[in-house]
């Protein structure tokens, strides 16, 4: 399939107190995209638009080559969707759900499903009503993964999971990527996991995409630069440097376009140049864009 797995162009969705605006996003087969943003930024709305649960006010959405939401029935044949707020049908057991999904999807892999039941520590006889949040998440992940869908759309898929469960789940996601024709789009607050397994990162804040790029490039560009300025010296004009914090002679700069050239420009007073992890970048990025937008 040469199609991009997800393609959104100029998508707009308005609600009374919130608008998703000019959203463009694309996911290639074989790719993992980490979708990051503060609460209320529009991550869930974007994922629901991808699934056809809601329709855009403007723009185009195409998933697995199918226009959404019109062709959602065909698209969803090959998409596994899991969201932390999703629940199973209350008066049925997990086993019933497995049989139900199996009867609808011929690609259901019973052996894999059985493995996942053990790995995720679930019990098929258990009634959906009695499942904890974490067990619900694992159950819905199982139902999605066992079908081996081409595309996985996941909204906070590690919510309520203890570290062991999280590790198991992340392992299953990475197993999916052994096949370069499958892809994953997932939103998560867990920046450690996002940083680890994403190929691309997309940042969203207040309904707009503020950044989208290759993860390694991203991590390469951001730095904290610690400078010690002796009395009487000052820093030259520095491009792409923001977040300046002064503490006496000690100045901390944040940049999103680091290069050796920039370091040279700052001069001899650089004490240390630190890489930033995704969580730190996330916070700095959001704050920077809010400042730029004057909000």
């Amino acid at each position: 399939m040469d199609h991009k797995h997800i393609e959104m162009r100029g998508v707009r969705k308005s609600y009374r107190f919130f608008t998703l605006d000019d959203l463009s996003l694309s996911l290639e087969p074989g790719e993992v995209m980490g979708f990051v943003g503060p609460n209320g930024a529009g991550k869930s709305t974007t994922l629901k638009l991808a699934m056809g649960f809601i329709a855009p006010d403007a723009g185009e959405i195409s998933v697995l080559g199918h226009p959404m939401p019109e062709a959602q029935a065909a698209a969803k044949r090959d998409i596994g969707y899991v969201s932390a707020e999703m629940r199973l049908l209350p008066h049925a057991t997990l086993g019933w759900h497995m049989e139900f999904v199996k009867s609808i999807y011929p690609e259901w892999d019973g052996g894999y499903a059985a493995t996942l039941v053990k790995r995720f520590n679930l019990r098929p006889e258990q009634n959906a009503r009695s499942l904890s949040l974490g067990e619900h998440v694992k159950a819905t992940l199982l139902l999605a993964l066992a079908r081996r869908p081409r595309l996985l759309v996941l909204d906070e898929p590690t919510t309520g999971l203890d570290p062991v469960a999280r590790h198991e789940v992340i392992s299953e996601f990475m197993d999916v990527l052994r096949d370069d024709s499958r892809s994953i789009l997932f939103s998560s607050h867990n920046t450690v996991d996002v940083e680890r397994i994403s190929d691309r990162l997309t940042f969203i804040d207040r309904g707009r995409i503020v950044d989208s790029s290759n993860k390694e490039d991203f991590l390469d560009r951001w730095r904290r630069i610690h400078v010690k300025l002796p009395a009487g010296t000052s820093l030259p004009e520095l491009p792409n440097v923001f977040g300046r914090v002064n503490d006496g002679q000690f100045v901390t700069l944040t940049t999103n376009q680091y290069s050796e050239g920039l370091r040279a420009l700052i001069g001899p007073h650089v004490r240390e140049v630190q890489r930033m992890n995704l969580e730190e970048i996330f916070v700095a990025n959001v704050m920077y864009h809010r400042e730029v937008r004057g909000s």
Partner: protein
């Protein structure tokens, strides 16, 4: 399978560098002899629970260093080990020297002071 290779996210070094280092170490030690086929990028990604792009970058950089060879469509293989052990040591020396310079700077030592300290250390080591 490759549970020996461990990527720490709390390590200051980026993931791709850690992977490169661990691969180089295995090659230098002889555990991965020259000509041995490396795991496919996706297989290693899945085994380590690390993004494909990180493995791709590690393999690319290792190839640029001449440590591995990638044959299009066939996979990646360990290159000739000649001089690799030496290369590894060279790298370690560079790292240590850079660190010494950094610490020297923070202590306010001049270049000459630092050089003097180095000579003193060499003499001390020579005595033992």
């Amino acid at each position: 399978m490759y549970s020996g290779i461990n990527i720490s996210q709390t390590d200051a070094r980026p993931m791709y560098l850690q992977i490169m280092e661990q691969i180089r170490a295995r090659i230098a030690a002889g555990d991965w002899p020259s000509g041995k086929e490396l795991p496919s990028i996706r297989a290693l990604a899945a085994a380590l629970n690390v993004s494909v792009i990180t493995i791709k970058r590690a393999y690319l950089d290792l190839e640029n260093e001449g440590v591995i060879v990638t044959r299009h469509g066939k996979g990646s293989f360990v290159a000739d080990v000649n001089g690799l052990a030496g290369e590894l040591q060279e790298e370690r020396l560079e790292e240590h020297l850079t660190r010494a310079v950094e610490i020297g700077q923070s202590l306010g030592l001049s270049e000459d002071d630092l050089a003097a300290r180095l000579r003193r250390a060499q003499r001390n080591l020579g005595k033992n």
